[in-house]
Amino acid sequence: MFKYFEPNRIFSITSKAPRYVLFLFILILSIGLTEALVFSPEDYKQSHAVRIMYVHVPAAWITLGIFSTITFLSVVGYIFKLRNFFLIAKSLAPSGFVFNIIALVTGSIWGKPTWGTWWAWDARITSMLILVLFYLMYLIAWRIYENNDKAFKITTIITIFGIINLPIIKYSVDWWNTLHQPASINILSKSTIHTSMLFPLMIMTAAFALFSLLIFLMKYNTELIKIKNKGLDRL
């Protein structure tokens, strides 16, 4: 099964895909922005400040999703010695890192009108800040050790330690009495968000996911060309 993930096989697809993904991203983002900023209703408590949710929540979801994926790929890649899994994980990291920063900054901006402060050492916010540090360590490790066995080992260790933080982020609002509100959207139980707000939220999430796919494809292609550059040196 793993042979389908070989770079030579998928480069022909990944090199052509970005232009279509970019087009789709711009289209979905335009719809999402119109819905989020114009058509969605204001909240009875938070008024228009609730619109920050349409960038804050998708960014937080995607950064958590990307870190989970990176950990999975690193661990499986390390166990089965699959170099390409590391390449995919490495290519996912920049967008995960940027989405984490977006979640923190927009959360801080949202905090000012709703809590009266830009920052609080609240369990959810602090654990998100710790996640950004793990992303930073992960990216720095790749920069220091390049594409070699030591980089595979160190980045896997970083992700294993980092993944411990993910349940803390998820359940921090339930475990501790925090400023941050509990989750409004639950997969297993009924969501407490109205469909008029859920719809733009889902569109914005789709747009953000497409953007991270676009960045992943571009970064992945760059990494493959970098490997091929080294290959030309050896000829």
């Binding site: 232009r19 228009h48 400040a49 920050i52 060309i225 030309l232």
Partner: protein, 75 residues
């Protein structure tokens, strides 16, 4: 209508700055990744150009190299 979208009952500055920060981060990340991509591609093309005909023919026999060289259209 326009005033309501712009000022949003006094929350406009928070809402618009959040969206602006997000979109600027997107543009920044896109430019950084795109620049890295162009740099590596140009390096590849330059290295390929320096190969003698025999080595160039061998390198070109690999589909991925052919793909890198042919895929000059950028997004």
């Amino acid at each position: 209508m326009t005033n309501e979208i712009l000022f949003m009952n006094g929350y406009g500055v928070y809402v618009w700055s959040s969206f602006a920060f997000t979109l600027l981060s997107f543009v920044f990340l896109y430019i950084v990744i795109k620049t890295q991509h162009i740099k590596e591609k140009n390096k590849f093309i330059a290295k390929f150009g320096k190969l003698n005909s025999e080595r160039a023919a061998f390198a070109k026999s690999q589909s991925i190299n052919k793909e890198i060289l042919s895929n000059t259209q950028s997004i």
